[in-house]
């Protein structure tokens, strides 16, 4: 039941609107920028009235960037593809390693268990720049510099701790007796893990996977140092728009819109399952 007065409701709506404008306006502005040329973007005073054109998108997709100084080849689509590839495989590998590990940390008490879990978490708060220097040396020796495998490996620093700690919490919330009941009915440990524990923790696994994907997607420094142009994701690729003849704001905006689209689509798609899973109250004792 709602006991709040009309005034409270109005105030709440006003505040929510304010917050939404604050957060969503930049996104709207970027979208508008992506449809303009550099000249209209930079005019003073700025105006939301302009003639939209898709030149920026065309330039990105064809890879031909036309500037006043001349034509420039950019590998934006290649970068986008790299981002998809790197993020997808990193998250997949992290799920493969992290979910069973999270289950082990949640269910079994073993020597140094907490210490190992904490060490893995500490990867998240170690500044990436700190590990990059030694890492780049190792990678050179190992021949992993500028390889997808090398990057996916490094991305585990981002994805694995996240998945491990979020999913662990979900496993801990599931009453072990639900699994016990399944086991005692004549099912093996492995079957219980795959048929009972994982399905029950699915909302958590989905949430963790999504978050890890976003973090991997947004990563900048690792790929900047450890990969060269043909293996770099969009975040690094966007640097190409800072050209000798100036910053290509229109193309940057279009690139942002394009690069946000996959994560946005994934988030919208996964959101349904997240809400469903959470509202089902499936993991209640």
């Amino acid at each position: 039941m709602d006991h709040s007065s009309t005034f409270e409701k109005a105030l709440r709506s006003a505040l929510i609107t304010l917050v939404l404008i604050f957060f969503l306006f930049p996104i709207l502005w970027i979208f508008l920028m992506s449809l303009q040329t550099n000249e209209t973007i930079l005019r003073i005073p700025p105006s939301i009235l302009f003639e939209p054109n898709l030149d920026n998108y065309r330039a990105l997709i064809t890879g031909k960037l036309q500037t006043t100084a001349g034509n420039l080849d950019i590998a934006f689509m290649r970068n986008l593809w790299n981002s998809v590839l790197l993020s997808t495989f990193s998250v997949a590998l992290s799920l493969l390693l992290g979910v069973p590990a999270a289950y082990a940390f949640a269910r079994f008490k073993f020597r140094l268990g907490e210490d190992i879990a904490f060490t893995l978490l500490s990867f998240r708060f170690a500044p990436p720049l700190l590990v990059l220097l030694p890492l780049s040396l190792y990678f050179k020796t190992l021949g992993l510099t500028n390889t997808y495998i090398g990057l996916i490996w490094v991305y585990q620093l981002i994805c694995l701790p996240l998945i491990l700690w979020i999913v662990r919490g979900y496993f801990e919330d599931i009453s072990p007796d639900i699994e016990h009941a399944y086991r005692i009915a004549g099912n093996s440990w492995w079957k219980t893990f795959t048929r009972v524990a994982i399905p029950l923790a699915r909302p958590g696994i989905a949430a963790a996977g999504l978050l890890a994907f976003i973090f991997a997607w947004n990563n900048f420094v690792f790929a900047l140092i450890l990969a060269s142009a043909d293996k770099q994701p969009v975040t690094v690729g966007a640097l190409a728009f800072v050209t000798a003849s100036g910053i290509q704001y229109g193309q940057i905006a279009a690139a942002i819109v394009l690069s946000v689209t996959p994560t946005l689509a994934l988030a919208l798609y996964a959101q349904r399952y997240l809400v469903e899973g959470l509202s089902m109250g499936a993991v209640k004792g």
Binding site: D177, H180, A181, I184, A185, G186, N187, K284
Partner: protein, 373 residues
């Protein structure tokens, strides 16, 4: 249908950075084939740990558990041939009640028709036929509990473990189901271990009750024996409602009379011949004893126990009278309606045959009703 033998089992929990907890101490217990045993005790007494060790969810720190002559304590839970109903129901949320009850049958490769029939019959017995197609989260706690119980009972197993199987049910339904479940377990000759803290449930369902306290088995006996011949002061005071009244007393015997001088001034004198010769003999060597008197054996009316009424409650079929005697409150139960004003003087008596005598130091039973323990 198997015989369960627990011998010398210990369970020691070793939490990180904390002192180890000895939850079960050298427990030995045999449950005969088809017998229903209740593990009775207050929380933390080790009864659930015992059950989980039998099921295989906890390691046995020391000792062996065998079922039907086969050592099972090292096997995986799935290989033990044991069925269990969990206290927290533990139904699998994505499955309906019927699917939950059937999943062990499925694992045992029963045909769908066979398993459906079994589930249906079990649901009828437990009165949950109407919720078979619902999901666990959409039914009440009592219904979930019955579904969990049904899931355990519906399958064939060498041993059935029931952890507080009826804690969430309404009293009326509980009484009805107790009878049905006992009948079912008897009919199918199910060897059963039931964990409960409810004496009534243990008395109604079990053939024998194992009373546990502090991880130690206090007594393993039939319900009647537990009541009439408690092995020690703990069982004596734990079993029975309201609990047994206990006095510490000095003993004096002079051949003709046995006197108990209760601390605080009351003395109980009995002719020596009302207690058997071995008991009198034993008491002559005893300085002090603990006397246990069941509230039902403490009668109102002329007697050596004098006190003041603290409260007097008519419960519809019996009266509970609390009396302050020698600085402490004791309870007497009368079958008839008694009206006594609070604060009024009252006298109580007890027959020699109703005394339970325990060693004052160890608490071990010495004599019950005039006979040696």
């Amino acid at each position: 249908m198997g015989e369960l033998v627990i011998s010398n089992v210990d369970k020691i929990y070793r939490p990180r950075r904390k002192a180890p907890v000895h939850a079960v101490q050298s427990l030995s217990l045999t449950v005969k084939p088809g017998e229903i045993t209740a593990l009775l005790g207050s929380s933390g007494c080790g009864k659930t740990s015992t059950l989980r060790m039998i099921a295989g969810f906890e390691d046995v720190s020391h000792g062996t558990i065998s079922l039907d002559g086969r050592d099972i304590h090292t096997l995986a839970p799935s290989a033990r041939g044991v069925a269990m109903a969990f206290e927290a129901y533990s139904l699998y949320p994505p499955l309906t009640i019927a699917e939950n009850m059937a999943f062990a049958l499925k694992a045992a490769k029963l045909s769908t028709a066979e398993s459906d029939a079994k589930v249906k019959a079990m649901a009828e017995m437990l009165e949950i036929s109407d919720i078979l197609n619902k999901y666990p989260t959409s039914v009440s706690g009592g219904q979930q509990q019955r579904a969990g119980l049904g899931r355990a009972l519906v399958r064939k197993a060498g041993l059935y473990l029931l952890d507080e199987p009826m804690g969430q049910l309404e009293p009326q339904l509980r009484a009805i189901l107790r009878g049905r479940i006992k009948h079912y377990l008897r009919e199918h000759k199910c060897t059963t271990i039931l964990v409960t803290h409810d004496q009534t449930e243990a008395n109604a369902l079990a053939d024998r009750i194992a009373v546990m306290e502090g991880g130690i088995l206090q007594q393993y006996a039939t319900p009647a024996e537990l009541k009439l011949r408690p092995a020690n002061l703990f069982t004596g005071t734990f079993i029975g409602e309201p609990p047994m009244n206990v006095f510490n007393a000095g003993v004096r015997t002079d051949g003709k009379t046995v006197s108990f001088a209760i601390d605080g001034g009351v003395t109980l004198d009995y002719p020596a011949n009302e207690l058997s010769a071995p008991v009198s003999n034993l008491l002559s060597k005893q300085q002090r004893v603990a006397i246990g008197i069941r509230p039902h054996a403490l009668h109102l009316g002329k007697g050596p126990i004098k006190g003041k009424v603290v409260s007097c409650q008519w419960l519809g079929d019996q009266t509970h009278v609390a009396v302050e005697v020698a600085g402490r409150t004791i309870v007497s139960v009368a079958q008839e309606r008694v009206s006594q004003k609070t604060g009024s003087d009252i006298e109580l008596n007890v027959a020699a045959g109703d005394l339970h005598l325990f060693d004052a130091a160890s608490g071990g039973a010495l004599a019950h009703g005039g006979d040696l323990a």
